[in-house]
Amino acid sequence: MTEAVQREVGRARPRKEDAHLITGQTNWTDNISVNGLLHLAILRSPMAHARIDRVDVSAALERPGVIAAFSGRDVAESMGSLPCAWPVAEGTVVPDHPPIAVDEVRYAGDPVAVVVARDRYTAADALEAVEVDYTPLPTVLDIEGALAEDAPLVHSDKGTNRCYDYRTTDGDYAAAKARADVVVTRRYHQQRLIPSAMEPRAVVVTPLAASGEFTLYSATQIPHVLRVLLAVTTGIPENKIRVVAPDVGGGFGSKLQVYGEEVITLVLAKRLGRPLKWTESRSEANLATHHGRSQVQDIEVAARRDGTVLGLKVSLLADMGAYLMLLSPGIPVLGASMYPAIYKMGAYEFSCTGVFTNRTPIDAYRGAGRPEATFAIERIMDDLAAELGMDPIELRRHNWIRHEEFPYTTIAGLTYDSGNYEAATDKALALFDYDKLRAEQADRIEHQDTVRLGIGVSTYTEMCGLAPSRWLGEMRYAAGGWEAASIRMLPTGKVEVITGTSPHGQGHVTSWSQIAADVLGVPFDDVEVMHGDTMLATQGMDTYGSRSLVVGGVAVHEAARKVVDKARKVAAHLLEANEADLDFADGAFCVKGSPEARKTIQEVAFATFASHDLPDGMEPSINAEHVLDPDTFSFPHGTHLCAAEVDTETGAVRIRSYVCVDDVGKVVNPLIVEGQLHGGIAQGIAQALYEEAVYDEEGNLVTGTLADYLVPAAPDLPEFVTDRTETPATSNPLGVKGVGEAGTIASTPAVVNAVVDALRPFGVRDVRMPCTPERVWQALRTGKEASA
C-alpha cells in the first residue's frame, strides 16, 4: 500500500508559475513580436475640456517610417462607443464614448489621433507632427461643483452632469435617529487613486487576412468579457476574435476594462491588414488607464448612550470622471451593501449620485466600492466610540453579529453564511499587545511627548465571489457572474485543468492544481492549469472582485468531482463491481473489502482513451466541465490593528506595528493567502498615507509619472504580522471565502484611525487622506484652534 497522499489543499506550496517569471522566460504582451509588426502611438489631449476644431495628420504621414495616421473622425465609423455594462439606476445617463475623440475632448489624456509606424520611436516622434486646433471649453473638476446650477457641462448634449441617483433603504432611519442619544455625522473624502499596476497596458493584434480572423493579445484581466465586447463595439464577429491574456503584470481592477486602445488596435490592424502593437508608457498609464475611488461620503450614525447602533445613513457623491467605463456607475453601489458591515442595526438609508467631471474615468480599483464603504463605517465607529468615551473595540463588540448568530441577514439584505468576529479580534489583540500599547499612549499624553502614539482598529468584512447572476441582474448589470472550469484526463493519466478565470499574479495555477489534485487523487505535479486564451478556455467571466477562488476555484472542484463520478462508473465496469461497492481514495477505486481489486484513476483514464471496453452507451472520455453560478456571496472578515507614531512637530506618520488576523475560510495555499494580504495591506496603506491623483485648476494631471505619484517603496512600509482564524464558508463545498481585496479594504481605515487616534487630544477629528505630513500638520493646527 502506498502511504496516504498528503492533502494539497492547505499546503504552503511555492508556486508553479514562478519558474518562468523568475528566469525571465516571460510572455508579457509587450514581449510579443511577429514579422511585419507595426507600432501604434496615440496623441492625447493636453486639455481637460476643449472643442476639436481641426486635426491634421498630413505632416505626420510624410515622416519616413510612418505607415498611417488617423484622427477620430477618420475612424469613427468603424468603432462604436466604448461599453458601459452597469447602468445601475433607472435613467442612468450613458454618454457616447468614442475610442478616439471626434468633436470634443473631455479629459486631459483623451485620445485625439493615432500614428502607425515601423517602430515605436518613429511612431512616438510622428505624434509631434500631428496638428490639432482646440477651442478650450470651461471645465468642471470638482465633484460637488459639478452639480451646481451653473456648472459647465461635461457632456453638453446630456444637459446635466448628474449620471444617476440610486437609493435604497431598510427600516426607518428617521425614527431611529429620533430615538438616539448620540448622532455622529461626518464627511469623508475618498481621494482619487491611480491603480499603478507595474506592467503598463499593451495590446498586440495579429490579423489573418484570408479568413478575417484576429488574435488580440492584451494585458487584460478579462479576456472573455473583452472578446464579447470587442465584437459588440467593432462589429467583427465574436467567433473571428481570439483574445489572449498572456502573462499579465498586475491589474488591481485597472485591467478590468474594455479600453479604447484595444478597439483602436483591432480596428486599425484590420484596416491595414498588418499586425499592430500598442504599448502604454507610464505617463499614459497615469493619464488614461482608469482611476479609482474619488467619492465624497456623508455618513451619519445614530446610537444609544450604551453604544448600541440604531441606524446608519449614507449619502455619496461619486465621481465618474469624463466617461462611463465598463462598470463605473456600479462601483459605489457595490459598496451600498457593505456600509452596515459586521454590525447589527435596525435602519439603513443609502443614496448615491454619480457625477461627471473633466477627469480620467473612474472604475474598479482593488476592492471596488467595498474599501470606500469599509473606510466610512470603520472611521465613524471610531468617532462614535470617542463621542461616547468608549474603547473602540468594546463599541464594536457591543454591536457586531455574534458567531452563534450566523447565518445572519444584515439590514442591507445580505446573508452572511458564517463568521467569527470574536475569535479573530481576540487573537489580533493578543498579537498586537493592545493593552500595553494603550498604556504607552497614555504615558506619552501625560508627558506631553511631541511624538504621539495612535491605535487604529478596523474590523471589516468583505463581499467576495462576485457572481450570483440573478443578483447581478437585479442590480442591472448586463452580464452574469458564473465561472467555468473543465478538466481533461489525458491518456497517460496527466490532468489538464482549464479555467475561465484569468490571473495576473494571484497564483491560480498553483491553487487550482492543489484543488484538482486533491479531488482526483493525482500528484500536484501531474496537473497543468491553462487559462487566459479564449480559444482554449472557451468560457469564462475572468478575474476581479476576489471572485476567482470562490467561483472559479469551486468550479474546478466541481468539475473534478464529475470526473471522479464518471471514472467510478468505468472502474466499476472494469472491476465488474457495483459502483456503490467502490471506495475512492488516494486516486484509486477499490472494491470494498477486497483491496486487490483496484483501478487507479490513471488506469481508468487510459481505458476510456482506448475505449475498448466501456459500459454500454458511455462516451469515451472522462472529461468534465462545470459552470458554477453560486446562489450567494462569501464573506471573509478580520481584525486589523495599526499602531502609528505621529510627530506633532513635523506631521510625519510612522507605522510602528501592523497586526492582522483574517478569516478567509478554508485556506487552499497559506503562502499565497499571506502574499495576497501583504500586497493588499500595502495598497491600503498607500491610500491612507501616500497616494493621490492631483489635478491643477486647468485639469492637468500633476501626478502624471511615478516621480510625482507616490507608490510606496520598501522603506515606506512596515513589517506586517499576519495570522488567521479559519471559519469555513458554508455556501460552497470547499469552504473558501476569497482574499484578494481583504488587505486593502481593512488597512486604510486601520491606519487613518490610528493617525486620528494619536491626534484626538489636540481636538483633531479627521485627517484627510493621504495623511501626508502637511495634512497632519494642517489638521493639528485647525484642531488646536477648534479646541482653543
Binding site: I22, G250, H678, E719
Partner: protein, 156 residues
C-alpha cells in the same frame, strides 16, 4: 548609427544602433532578451534593472552606446546549467513575487545589494531596494527572500 559591441549574458553582440536607442530597448527589441521589462518612463520603477560591469543600472536610463564595450547580465543570465541562483530560489520559496513584473529588476537590484552588504539587516534590504517598486507583494516577502539568500551565501 553607431557601432557597439556588448557582451550580454555571456554572448557578444556587434550592432549598429541609433545613438538615442536606450539600452533596455536594445536588449528587448534588438536582442530579443525580453526577460527584463519596462515599467516607467522616468527611471523610477526599477523593473528594467540589469547588471552592467558589476553595477546594477536601470537600463532605461542608459543609452545602448553608453554600454559599448561592457558586459551586461540580465535575469536571463542568472541560472547556470538549469540551476537557479540563490536569489531566484529564495524568491520562489518565500513567495516574493506575484505578477512577477518587478521580479527581474528586484532580483538584479538585490544581487547588487548583497554584493555590497553580504549580511544585510532587514532595514538595509528595504533601503537597498528603494529604487524598485513592486505593486503586488507589499515587499515583506521580498525582504525575507533577500535575507534568506544572504544566509545561503554564508553557509554554502
Amino acid at each position: 548609427m553607431t557601432h557597439i559591441s556588448l557582451k550580454v549574458d555571456g554572448t557578444t553582440y556587434e550592432d549598429d544602433v541609433e545613438p538615442r536607442l536606450l539600452l533596455i530597448h536594445y536588449l528587448r527589441d534588438r536582442l530579443g532578451l525580453t526577460g527584463t521589462p519596462i515599467g516607467c518612463d522616468t527611471s523610477n520603477c526599477g523593473s528594467c534593472t540589469v547588471d552592467l560591469d558589476g553595477e546594477s543600472v536601470k537600463s532605461c536610463s542608459l543609452l545602448a552606446v553608453q554600454a559599448d564595450g561592457g558586459e551586461v547580465t540580465t535575469v536571463q543570465g542568472l541560472a547556470h546549467d538549469g540551476e537557479w541562483s540563490e536569489l531566484q530560489k529564495a524568491f520562489h520559496v518565500r513567495h516574493a513575487l506575484q505578477c512577477g513584473y518587478c521580479t527581474p529588476g528586484m532580483i538584479m537590484a538585490a544581487r547588487d545589494l548583497l554584493r555590497e552588504h553580504p549580511h544585510p539587516t532587514p532595514d538595509e534590504v528595504r533601503h537597498g531596494l528603494e529604487g524598485n517598486l513592486c505593486r503586488c507583494t507589499g515587499y515583506q516577502n521580498i525582504v525575507r527572500a533577500v535575507l534568506d539568500a544572504a544566509e545561503q551565501e554564508v553557509t554554502t
